[in-house]
Amino acid sequence: MSVLVFAETSEGQYKKVAFEATSYGAKVAELLQTNLVALSINAKDASQLSTYGATKILNVKNEKLTSFNAKAFAEVVSQVAKSEAATVVIIDSSSNGLYLAPLVAFKLQAALASNVVGIPSTTNPFVVKRKAFSNKAFCLTALSTSVKVIGLAKNAFGIFENTVETTLADFNPALSDADFGVSSKQIIKTSGKVSIADADIVVSAGRGLKGPENWGMIEELAQVLGAATACSKPVSDLDWRDHAEHVGQTGKQVAANLYIAIGISGAIQHLAGINSSKVKVVINTDPEAPFFKAADYGIVGDAFEVVPKLVEKLKIFKQNNA
């Protein structure tokens, strides 16, 4: 018996979500009084995972798996799960994790719980808490299969150091052509920017900015904070900003530590996409804007006056706290 975590890499380096999933896995393993096995594919330095509580690390070195392939990766994860007799398999909620998890669960005839926000409240029955109703409520789900797959929500558990003795080994999966029915042709990266998915801080602006020509100060604010930039749906529909920046119910989901909304009224569809962020700040001229009900901190004021001042003050703050 064991708990298995799939620790995701990008170009050989662990993603932040890999450390979070491993930290979470260590806690689940402790709860089940068993060991945590971590699996990674083409990691350059797999030993890093011992810092987060993995007692056994398996690394797959395979050129065919250089770029993510959901079906082939699912085959690898399920082969390891079987050979390690894993009863719980943990997968992160990156775009790749979300793609992978149902395929892994199906192969293992396991129940899958996605968007899980904490460790199981009980292990028999095995009950987990999940985000539901577009972050407006939680759902408690009991998983009844002998093997369970958990899709861990982003930024829901945190990263905890817990250095342990680790054994490190290679794993050679058996893969066939049938596992490569979908192949990657091209990856188009939004260049030179922090991605919304990976960002700790997201600076977002809405129609209150009046036009795309006014985004300079938003980008400057994002740069000072090391943040990603995002926008509301109307802004994306008006083509003021790239569609990839749209956050909300039908756009990207944001689970950042800090979300700053500028000139966004806070329509329910927008809030549905950003509710999982830990701290929300709103800057809006209208004190009645619904965003003030959802935010932790707010400034009633004109973005064109407040944002440049905020940029200036943050630059000083960053200098003093560097």
Partner: protein, 265 residues
């Protein structure tokens, strides 16, 4: 120009090969109040308006494009009780040709996927479009389970798709960009905004609504599936403390609060 009528074009060849199924979820409208009853174990449907799941609507609209440009016929399917039929009728009014309702409470994702897979297998649909997730339970599990059950190719978070013959070029959203994938029919595509844009969505017109009444809506019994999971309860979000307002003339205070109180910068 008229030559088209006499010589079959490549496009016409694809017609025969495409059998399209769009899976629709019947979900509470975004603005619905989310409440629970019976000791927080049941979703309170009181006063809730239902709509086609937005992600599914993007997929349906893309399917209509295939129908109009490449001649496919479109079936919509949902798993639900009689209460979901207005949602299916709306999909028919938008332009789907026929509808199937699997007569069962959609208890969990695996159960739903097995029901749809059973119908798809019997009817031989080779292009299945469905939203990346429903906006009620947000599980995002049905598309992957469905593809795996059918052993079809699968693309998640699909924001673009072109089909020529058996070849499929699909674009999926990834963290910080997008990825172009090459694959073949049969396939399950879990779509989202981007597969079509907001402005492409269609509002059913009167003619569509009238025609929808005549279109076939078949009710099929559910197959037996052992449930993998059960919902044992719900929790509402913890009450949030009121927003702390900072004067626009005191930006330093905001920075100080974010640094010392919230500890996020």
């Amino acid at each position: 120009m008229k030559l088209h009528l006499f010589y079959p074009t490549k496009q016409q060849k694809t017609i025969k090969n495409m059998k399209l199924l769009v899976c629709i979820s019947h979900v509470p409208d975004t603005t619905s109040k989310i409440n629970f009853t019976e000791g927080d174990t049941k979703f309170d449907t009181n006063g809730v308006q239902y709509v086609i799941n937005p992600h599914d609507e993007y997929c349906l609209t893309r399917a209509l494009w295939f129908k109009e440009k490449q001649g496919a016929s479109i079936t919509v399917i949902t798993v639900g009780t009689q209460l979901v039929e207005p949602t299916l009728r709306k999909a028919l009014a938008i332009g789907a040709d026929d509808a199937i309702r699997v007569d069962a409470e959609p208890k969990e994702a695996f159960f739903v996927a097995q029901q749809i897979a059973d119908v798809a297998k019997k009817e031989g649909y080779n292009l299945i479009l469905t939203g990346r997730e429903s906006i009620d339970y947000n599980g995002g599990m049905v598309p992957g389970f469905l593809a795996a059950s059918l052993n079809y190719n699968f693309v998640n978070a699909c924001i673009g798709v072109e089909i020529e013959g058996q070849n499929v070029t699909a674009t999926r959203e990834i963290d910080g960009g997008s990825e172009v994938l090459a694959t073949t029919l049969p396939i399950v595509l879990a779509g989202q905004k981007g597969i079509v844009e907001e402005k492409d969505l269609r509002i059913p017109n009167m003619r569509g609504i009238m025609m929808a009444r005549q279109k076939p809506l078949k009710v099929v019994p559910a197959i037996e599936v052992i449930l993998n999971s059960t919902t044992v309860g719900f929790e509402k979000l913890p009450l949030k403390s009121a927003c702390k307002l900072v004067s626009p003339d005191n930006i330093d205070e905001l920075i100080n609060l974010l640094h010392t109180e919230a500890k996020v910068i």
